[in-house]
C-alpha cells in the first residue's frame, strides 16, 4: 500500500507536466491571436511585435513550454490576456473561495439528504416509498443545470418575487439558496442510490443474519451493523465528488446566475481564449482531482482493513 502511494505521488508531477504541455500546445497552435485580443485590432505593428516577444509567442514551442514551467514553479503563472495587468494566480485565488463555498455546501447538503433518502428507500425496499424516492431523485437528477436554473429563477425572482435575481453576496445570503439547492441535487441522487444499493447488499450478508438470530433488536441490527457497513463505500464517492465538483460542478450555475467563481472565470476565459488563465485552471483542476483520488484510496484502505491486507 505504501509503495503504491509513493508511486502515485511520483506520477503526479508527470501528469501535471503532460497536462500543461497539452494545454500550452492548444494555446500555442490554437486559433485566435492573443496579442490582438489584448491590444485591439488596430494596434501599431511594433507594439504588437514587442508584446509578442514579451509573451514568448515568438519562441519555438519547446522553449515556450520550458519557460512557462520554470516560471510557474517560481509562482509566476503569467498575466491574464482578458483582465489586462492582472496576474493569473490572484485572479484565480479570489474566485476559488466562492466556488469552494458553493460546491462544498451543496455537496454536504446533498450527501446528508441523499444518505437519509437512500436509507429510507433501502429499509422499505420494493414498496411505494422506495419507488417514490428513487424515481423522484433520478427524475430530479436528470434535469441538466442549464435547463432548470433559468425557469426556477424566473419563478422565484420574477413571478413570486421571493428571491433576488442572481448574484452572490456570500454563503449566508439569501441569493445562495437557489444555486445550492440545485447543485445539491446531483450528489443527493448519487448518494441516495448508492446508499440503497449498499444497504440491500449488506442486509443479505451472513453477519446480519447472525445479528438477528442472536436476538438483537431490528433497530440495532440496522444502525450498528447494516448501516455502518453500507456507509463505508460512500467515502470513495464523497472524495471523488469533492475533487470533481470544485470547478466543473458549478460551471453552468455560476455562468447563469452571475456568481463570481471559478466556473464563470473558466467560461469567460475560454471564450476569450485567455490561455494563461485556462492553463492554470486546467492544472489546478487536474491536481485537485488527482489528489482527491489519492486521498480517497488511502482513506478507503484505512477504513476498510480488508483492502489494506492485499
Amino acid at each position: 500500500m505504501t509503495a503504491q502511494i509513493i508511486r502515485r505521488l511520483l506520477w503526479l508531477p508527470f501528469l501535471l507536466i503532460i497536462l500543461t504541455i497539452i494545454t500550452l500546445a492548444l494555446a500555442y497552435y490554437g486559433p485566435g491571436d492573443p496579442v490582438q485580443v489584448m491590444l485591439g485590432p488596430r494596434a501599431p505593428k511594433e507594439a504588437a511585435e514587442a508584446l509578442r516577444q514579451q509573451l514568448g509567442l515568438n519562441d519555438p514551442f519547446p522553449v515556450y513550454v520550458v519557460k512557462y514551467i520554470s516560471k510557474a514553479l517560481q509562482g509566476d503563472l503569467g498575466e491574464s490576456y482578458k483582465y489586462r495587468g492582472q496576474p493569473v494566480g490572484p485572479l484565480i485565488w479570489e474566485r476559488l473561495g466562492v466556488s469552494a463555498q458553493l460546491n462544498l455546501a451543496a455537496l454536504l447538503i446533498g450527501t446528508v439528504i441523499g444518505i437519509f433518502l437512500g436509507t429510507v428507500a433501502g429499509l422499505f425496499r420494493n414498496s411505494w416509498v422506495d419507488y417514490g424516492i428513487i424515481s423522484t431523485v433520478v427524475l430530479l437528477d436528470s434535469i441538466p443545470t442549464f435547463a432548470i436554473t433559468l425557469p426556477l429563477l424566473f419563478l422565484f425572482a420574477v413571478r413570486w418575487r421571493i428571491l433576488p435575481p442572481g448574484g452572490w453576496q456570500g454563503l449566508l445570503d439569501i441569493r445562495a439558496i437557489l444555486p445550492i439547492a440545485i447543485l445539491s441535487l446531483g450528489p443527493m441522487t448519487v448518494f441516495a442510490r448508492q446508499t440503497r444499493a449498499n444497504l440491500l447488499e449488506v442486509i443479505g450478508q451472513d453477519y446480519i443474519r447472525t445479528a438477528r438470530s442472536k436476538g438483537l433488536p431490528e433497530s440495532m441490527v440496522i444502525t450498528s451493523h447494516a448501516l455502518r457497513n453500507s456507509l463505508i463505500p460512500l467515502t470513495t464517492l464523497f472524495g471523488l465528488a469533492l475533487g470533481g465538483s470544485l470547478i466543473g460542478g458549478s460551471f453552468f450555475m455560476e455562468t447563469l446566475l452571475g456568481i463570481p467563481g471559478i466556473g464563470r472565470l473558466a467560461f469567460e476565459t475560454f471564450l476569450a481564449r485567455d490561455y494563461p488563465v485556462i492553463t492554470a485552471l486546467v492544472i489546478l483542476t487536474a491536481a485537485t482531482i488527482a489528489i482527491a483520488n489519492l486521498v480517497v484510496d488511502v482513506a478507503y484502505a484505512y477504513i476498510d482493513p480488508r483492502i489494506r491486507a492485499t
Binding site: 506520477w11 501528469l15 503532460i18 497536462l19 497539452i22 494545454t23 492548444l26 494555446a27 490554437g30 486559433p31 485566435g32 425496499r125 420494493n126 424515481s135 433520478v138 427524475l139 436528470s142 434535469i143 441538466p144 442549464f146 435547463a147 432548470i148 433559468l150 425557469p151 424566473f154 420574477v158 440491500l200 443479505g204 470533481g244 470547478i247 466543473g248 460542478g249 460551471f251 453552468f252 455562468t255 473558466a266 467560461f267 475560454f270 471564450l271 481564449r273 485556462i278 486546467v282 483542476t285 487536474a286 482531482i289 488527482a290
Partner: protein, 329 residues
C-alpha cells in the same frame, strides 16, 4: 438469489436442467427487463425520440430554418402551436428537428468513445505490461479534466481549424455550408472525453476475467490474442458495458445540449435543444406570463431522455445480470 443458467423451476417444485438457446435467453432477459415498469416507459420515450429524429421532415409542420418575419415573436396559435421565435421560425418544428440533431450526435459520440474504450481497455487489461502502462496513463491524463470543460476547450481551440480544413476539401465543403460540420466537431470532442472512463471499466472487467479457467483453456489450445479477447473475454464482460452504454447515451444528449447552450456546440440555424434554450432565454418573450415554456420545454425534453436512459440502464442491468434478478431487488 442466484439462478444457474439453463435451470428453471417446474410445477412440481423440482429443478430440472434445460437446454438454453440464444432465443430463450433473450426472452428470459426481456421478461426480467419488462418487470421494471420505468425501464419500459424509458423505452417508449427513447422510441418517440428516434421517430421524431428520423421522420422530422414529415412530422414537423414547418421547416426549421425558414424565416418568416411577418409572424415573428408570436404566442401559441392554431398555426403555430408553440408560437414562433424572433425570426418567425416555428418553435414546435424546431423542437422536433432538434431531435434529429441529438439523434446524430449522441449515438455517434457514444459509438466512437465505446469503440475506443473497448479496444484500449481490453488491450490494456489483457496484455498488461508497458501497453497497459501507456494506455492507462493517457486515460489518467484525460480523466483528470472535468469532462465538460475538456469538451469545451477542444471545441474552442479545434473548431476554427477543423472548419477551415473541411472547407478546403471539396467533399466536405457542402457539409460546412449546411452547418452540419459542427456536429462532427461536437461528436469528436465528446468521443475524446468519453473513452478513458470506459477503457478503465473494460480493463477492470478484463482483468477479472483474464485469469479464469476458460481463458486459460482457450489460450492453452492456441487461440490467438485478438480471438481470445473478441470471442472469449468480451462476451463475458458485456453486461456491465451495455448498462453503461445506455447511461452514456443520456449523458451525450446532455453534453451536446450543454455545449450548444454555451454557443460552443451546434449553432443556429441548426436547432439543438441547448441552443434553443439559449436563444429563447435571451429573447424577452419567455418572461411574459404565457410563454415561460419557451425556456423550460427544450430542457424538459433533454431531462426526459436522460431519465429514460437511466431507467433503461437499470432494466438492462436486471435483465443481463441474473445474480441480482429475482429476490434481492
Amino acid at each position: 438469489m442466484a439462478v444457474a443458467q439453463g435451470v428453471r423451476p417446474t410445477g412440481q417444485g423440482a429443478w430440472v436442467p434445460q437446454a438454453t438457446s440464444r432465443r430463450s435467453r433473450f426472452i428470459d432477459g426481456w421478461r426480467r427487463f419488462s418487470r421494471h415498469k420505468l425501464a419500459v416507459l424509458g423505452l417508449f420515450i427513447v422510441g418517440a425520440w428516434i421517430v421524431c429524429g428520423l421522420f422530422a421532415p414529415w412530422i414537423a409542420p414547418y421547416s426549421y430554418r425558414e424565416n418568416n418575419l411577418a409572424v415573428s415573436q408570436q404566442l401559441p396559435s392554431a398555426e403555430h402551436w408553440l408560437g414562433t421565435d424572433r425570426l418567425g421560425r416555428d418553435q414546435l418544428s424546431r423542437l422536433i428537428w432538434a431531435a434529429r440533431t441529438a439523434l446524430i450526435v449522441a449515438p455517434f459520440a457514444v459509438t466512437v468513445s465505446f469503440a475506443l474504450g473497448l479496444i484500449f481497455g481490453s488491450l490494456a487489461g489483457y496484455l498488461g505490461g508497458w501497453v497497459e502502462g501507456i494506455i492507462m496513463r493517457v486515460a489518467d491524463v484525460l480523466l483528470a479534466f472535468p469532462g465538460l470543460l475538456f469538451a469545451l476547450l477542444l471545441s474552442v481551440t479545434l473548431k476554427p481549424r477543423l472548419v477551415s480544413m473541411m472547407e478546403a476539401s471539396s467533399v466536405l465543403k457542402d457539409l460546412v455550408r449546411s452547418g452540419y460540420a459542427e456536429l462532427i466537431i461536437v461528436i469528436l470532442a465528446l468521443s475524446v472525453v468519453g473513452w478513458p472512463g470506459l477503457a478503465r471499466l473494460v480493463r477492470a472487467q478484463v482483468l477479472s476475467s483474464k485469469n479464469s479457467l476458460y481463458i486459460e483453456a482457450a489460450r492453452a489450445s492456441g487461440v490467438n490474442t485478438w480471438r481470445v479477447i473478441r470471442q472469449h473475454i468480451l462476451p463475458n464482460i458485456l453486461a456491465p458495458i451495455i448498462v453503461v452504454l445506455s447511461m452514456s447515451l443520456g449523458g451525450a444528449v446532455v453534453a451536446e445540449s450543454g455545449l450548444s447552450f454555451l454557443g460552443l456546440g451546434v449553432e443556429p440555424p441548426i436547432p439543438s435543444w441547448g441552443n434553443m434554450i439559449y436563444e429563447n432565454a435571451s429573447n424577452g418573450l419567455w418572461r411574459t406570463a404565457n410563454a415561460p415554456y419557451l425556456v423550460w420545454a427544450p430542457g424538459a425534453i433533454v431531462s426526459l431522455l436522460v431519465f429514460a436512459f437511466s431507467f433503461i440502464g437499470d432494466g438492462l442491468n436486471e435483465a443481463l445480470n441474473p445474480q441480482i434478478g429475482e429476490g434481492s431487488r
